[in-house]
Amino acid sequence: MKHDVDLSVNIAGINMKNPVMVASGTFGFGREYSDFYDINKLGALVTKGLTFMPKNGNPPPRVHETPAGMLNSVGLENPGVQGFIEEEWPHLSELAIPVIANIDGDTVEDYHKTAKKLSSLEGLAALEVNISCPNVEKGGLAFGQEPESAFEVIKAVREATRLPIIAKLSPNVTHIQKIAEAAVSAGADAISLINTLLGMAIDIDTQQPIFSRKFAGLSGPAVKPVALRMVWEVCEAVDVPVIGMGGITTWQDAVEFILAGASAVAIGTANFVNPTAPLEIIEGIKAYLDMKGRNLQDLIGAARG
């Protein structure tokens, strides 16, 4: 029962030939993994988080391994939106796949300015608005932790751009549905989740926290069950497409997220473990659909009964 599997999906106007993107902050600006494969095979690429002004990020150490996961405290090191436009956009704009800029800010105004500036880039596919980064002093996490502030940030970005807006949510909340609803009502065209869970580690030799900022973001396979639950919850609450991520390492993981209702998935930490993970996941989803004689669209939310 061979058939030509249709893997394509359109998320808020972003046309993807397959549902597998790479997660912000785990794929730099797309240069590094080109050594391993043709990154035009991805469904879409999401950049490292951008802020209006350049950011140095946090002092080392910035990463720490945990059981089936890792903590990071990169602190949004990035060249700023101007630096991005000069140094990174030229090569990114030549890719054949949608490129999505992930943006962040210390203030609502920052988000607005960054969004505005990026909107001038011809060919940029969308903005992913990170209201959930746990590794910066101001803003970041706080914005994504209450419906009101989530609303405010997304509204400010909405006013700055006509690009599709993907609101990226923090999992460190009691009611993820309320945050998702607020983001959508402020104008988000899609939701992505989860960002990292807030965690920490202590060095028992020095008896001090490992990270200078004490808390850091947990990602990787360890968080998958939590991410999947939150994707399920958000798909229940909002009508916009959802991009699922958090610990996706195999095609089976990706299929779980799609069955839960995600229209696409993003691969983060798994890139570090297996540089060709996104390709293997695309192939795996394809073979699975082939076996079931279905297309991607049939799979989205199929476990919701």
Partner: protein, 267 residues
């Protein structure tokens, strides 16, 4: 562009050469052809999700003819423990060669290579490469420091023409008593005024700090190989930062692991 290779390499040797120190050889022709001293492999030590991340291990030698790439590693935690238990005949999941390498001397120079403990691994490859460079007439002195006699390894790997090796142990149980940096200072004293010296170094941070200090005070070029915890190993995650002497951070995996001493702040 294809500078980095992902390979499932055959393990052809994995043997203990000193207590908890292993010498592994794998077949990875593409890596052997491209590698330069100072670069490293990023190795998946287990097959399950824990430990999750790869482990960076320096290339200790290559052989373009046999396609072999060698590493020497110390068992310190779960990743290296699993690596030490991996059997000959099995496959090793590696990516590499990664990072930059030690810049080789452009003209005749006296190369003093200072290594501490497991920092000896990449130094073997470096010393061999410099000594075998036919165009230049470099002389190479390697100074290896260990805490005590039972920890000493590497001397046998460094027996090439043109390479002199000096061993120091902290407790004097083998070779000179003292730190390798003590010997570095003496060597510099002796060599002053002759061919330009270049210092290369790899080892524990306190040693590198001392090397940097000595080099700076005598205004000698020095290249240091640094370590930092890594996730991606390829420059994508910004996880392996070291403070730049100018502004912001450098990535040990991509901008390094070898830095000119003046480029980075150690501490």
């Amino acid at each position: 562009m294809n500078n980095t290779v992902a390979a499932l390499a055959d393990i052809v040797q994995n043997k203990e050469i000193a207590p908890n120190i292993y010498h592994m050889k794998i077949k990875a022709l593409d890596i052997a052809k491209k590698a330069v001293p100072g670069q490293f492999l990023h190795i998946r030590c287990g097959k399950t999700l824990s430990p999750l991340l790869r482990r960076p291990i320096s290339i200790a030698d290559t052989d373009e003819k046999t396609g072999c790439v060698e590493i020497i590693y110390r068992v310190v935690g779960e990743g290296t423990r699993l690596l030490s238990q991996t059997l000959t005949g099995h496959k090793l999941d590696v990516i590499g060669p990664l990072g930059n390498g030690f810049p080789l001397p452009e003209k005749d120079a006296h190369c003093i290579i200072v290594a501490g403990g497991i920092g000896t691994a990449p130094i073997i490859y470096l010393a061999k490469k410099i000594a075998s460079e036919p165009k230049n007439k470099n002389s190479v002195t390697t100074v290896l420091g260990f805490t005590t006699k039972s920890e000493v390894f590497g001397e046998g790997y460094l027996k090439f023409p043109g390479v002199e090796t000096i061993i120091a142990t902290d407790d004097g149980s083998y070779g000179y008593k003292g730190f390798p940096t003590d010997i570095l200072e003496r060597l510099l004293q002796e060599h002053m005024g002759k061919t330009d010296p270049i210092i290369y170094s790899c080892g524990p941070k306190p040693m590198l700090i001392k090397v940097k200090e000595i080099a700076a005070s005598k205004n000698i070029r020095a290249y240091l190989s640094l370590e930092e915890h890594m996730a991606c190993g390829v420059g994508a995650c910004l996880g392996c930062s070291v403070k730049s002497s100018r502004k912001g951070y450098k990535k040990v995996c991509k901008d390094g692991p070898v830095f000119e001493a003046g480029e980075v702040e150690l501490c």
